[in-house]
């Protein structure tokens, strides 16, 4: 694994453990997240990665100081995500020669342990690796050795949202490697924060699907010895449904953790500000960001991943990223830990989501003879595990979501998901109610229009 690129040779696990132990406790993300959860605080962090080391340093530092981020990211570029380290190297060179970032993220592998330690050491807050790929073992080895104390990704989720021809089996194996590594660090007394990418393709993911996959990824990590894990859901910008999802998630996940005997387990809840297409107008984007901050607090998320007003324009500048963070933190402050009261609407939505999640997870586990990994692989093949807009050829890709009149995500097409019939009918009824009110039919254009609805400008461009 470490031989895939020369910098892999720099990793010395025992030395890395000692290095972590010498780091200030305030820079350990796992400890920070646990403290925040206990105190009912909502942490904030952004995405962020650029081609050059010095720029990445400035970015991370600026996000922490000006941006007031509680922890800071290193998002990798798409070549690194696909183990094309030569092309990443070319991207670095091209950036140096043109002065314009030619990479959409930070090529962490090319820089390697030594240089990345410099980035982490310059900070007062923890740093987290955002690999965004199931080709993750080398990234994880280097990242952890460099002092990063968190990593975002999941074996099932990242395979089906990012890759085309990788088998889910391979993706799961790759993350098992990472999770074993995390467990090893933990055994040595170095807790590491693992977060899963339940936001998936970011495009109108029904919460039932997101949570089901989150739980399966979580069980897979637990089986490798991980005991500190967060599941990260994308916001769909419907208060009732988003809050219901954030509440169902820990309830149901704990049920399964318990069933598998993992009772001593820290479970965090990540909330990702709208991951779908953004409007190009900065003011409108800021509205989405402010709303996202409020939803995270209302739903008692542990941490929220922020977006920027540049989302629809391209990789954001430091300034735009700082603005997204500050808007988010201001709103979180104004919310003063206020949680949405549990009225009948939220309860009803929680019941629906909970039953969906249990149906899917139970079917998957049954298919895998009780093994979440086998179950996920077979489930994806059978389409009883499925997501919309997957680029992966091993995903059925039959599920198609659309919004109902209240903005909640419903199944226009539930594909082969093993949902109870009354729940399928409920979703259908909700879409028909919308169609009636809008004087249109429930058809595929409704689903397709909804993909761009949030991005649509208030005034024509």
């Amino acid at each position: 694994m470490l031989a895939k690129w020369p910098t892999g040779g720099e990793v010395d696990l025992d030395e890395a453990v000692r290095y972590h132990k010498a780091m200030p406790a305030g820079k350990n993300l796992a400890l920070l997240v646990q403290k925040a959860r206990a105190a009912g605080e909502t942490l904030i962090y952004p995405r962020g990665g650029v081609a050059l080391l010095e720029d990445q340093g400035r970015l991370m530092l600026g996000l922490a100081t000006e941006g007031t981020a509680d922890f800071v990211p290193s998002t990798t570029d798409s070549y690194t995500r696909n183990e094309s380290y030569e092309r990443a190297e070319y991207g670095i060179e091209k950036t140096k020669s043109t002065g314009k970032s030619a990479l959409n993220g930070f090529p962490i592998v090319n820089y390697g342990v030594g240089k990345c330690r410099g980035l982490v050491e310059a900070l007062k807050v923890p740093a987290m690796v955002l690999p965004g790929t199931p080709m993750v073992p080398l990234i994880a080895e280097i990242g952890f050795a460099a002092g990063y104390t968190g990593l975002l990704g999941g074996g099932i989720s990242d395979t089906i949202r990012f890759t085309k021809e990788l088998t889910p089996a391979q993706g799961i194996r790759n993350y098992q490697y990472v999770d074993r590594l995390v467990a090893y660090y933990a055994e040595q007394g170095v807790p590491i924060h693992r977060e899963q990418t339940g936001f998936l393709t970011g495009t109108l993911i029904p919460p039932g699907i997101a949570i089901a996959i989150g739980i399966l990824d979580c069980l897979l990590a637990a089986s490798q010895g991980v005991r500190h894990y967060s599941i990260g859901l994308g916001q769909n910008l419907n208060i009732v449904q988003d809050v219901a999802a954030l509440r169902v998630l820990p309830e149901v996940c704990r049920e399964y953790l318990h069933r598998f005997g993992y009772d001593d387990f820290f479970l965090g809840i990540g909330s990702h500000q709208w991951m779908g297409a953004f409007p190009r107008d900065a003011a409108e984007a800021m509205g989405i960001i402010g709303m996202g901050a409020a939803i995270a607090v209302l739903g008692n998320a542990t941490h929220v991943c922020t977006k920027t007003s540049h989302e629809a324009l391209g990789v954001p500048t430091l300034e735009a990223n700082v603005a997204g963070l500050r808007t988010t933190r201001k709103v979180i402050g104004l919310m003063r830990r206020y949680r949405l009261p549990e009225g009948p609407e939220v309860s009803a939505e929680m019941a629906v989501i909970g039953r969906e999640v249990r149906s899917v997870v139970d079917s998957v586990l049954a298919m895998g003879d009780g093994d979440p990994g086998k179950g996920a692989i077979r489930g994806l093949e059978a389409g009883i595990l499925d997501i919309p807009w997957s680029p992966n050829v091993f995903v059925a890709n039959k599920v198609m979501p659309a919004r109902d009149y209240s903005g909640a995500i419903r199944y226009y097409d539930a594909g082969n998901l093993p949902l109870p019939q009354d729940i399928k009918d409920y979703h259908r009824r909700k879409l028909e109610e919308r169609a009636d009110r809008e004087g249109r039919k429930v058809d595929i254009t409704m689903a397709l229009d909804d993909v761009s609805e949030i991005a649509k400008l208030l005034t024509a461009e």
Binding site: S78, Y79, R81, N82, S84, R87, Y90, G91, K94, K100, S101, A102, L103, N104, R161, F162, T163, K164, E165, T201, T203, A277, R280, H310, A312, L313, G314, V315, T317, W389, S390, P391, V393, L448, V451, E461
Partner: protein, 135 residues
């Protein structure tokens, strides 16, 4: 019936826009061969040869399009695709750039038409139809 090969080039997973585009092209009666996300530049050319395609329509969102499409027209010519029309659109650079500059660079790589992400699909379809001589 005219044939179009389409997909998302390079290591780019952003499939949503291209799928919508694909459907729009099918709806106006074109034969569309969809290669999906994460399609190497060479793959577009190979399939275009196999299907005797009239046009290649590339999407790229993730910002690496220019590196992914180095020498695209030359490779088409090498493969014997003499008259093929080349289209590309999406977010073609990392970060926001002046579109005039972007267009110039991709035309230099041999693309006939270059589109920003804000293009109206209908406008693209009209130009595509005109170029391919369908109505």
């Amino acid at each position: 019936m005219k044939t179009v090969v389409t997909g998302v080039v390079g290591l780019d997973a952003h499939i949503v826009g291209n799928k919508i585009l694909q459907k729009a092209m099918e709806d106006i009666g074109l034969k569309v061969v969809g290669l999906g996300a994460l399609t190497p530049a060479e793959q577009f050319i190979k399939v275009a040869v196999e299907t005797n395609a009239d046009a290649i329509v590339i999407s790229s969102l993730y910002g690496h399009a220019e590196m992914d499409c180095q020498g695209f027209r030359d490779k088409c010519l090498e493969a014997g695709l003499k008259d093929i029309r080349l289209y590309i659109g999406g977010m073609l650079t990392v970060g926001d750039c002046d579109f005039g500059e972007v267009e110039r660079r991709f035309k230099a790589l041999g693309f006939d038409r270059v589109y920003p992400p804000t293009v109206k699909i209908q406008d693209f379809l009209n130009e595509l139809k005109a170029d391919l001589g369908v109505d």
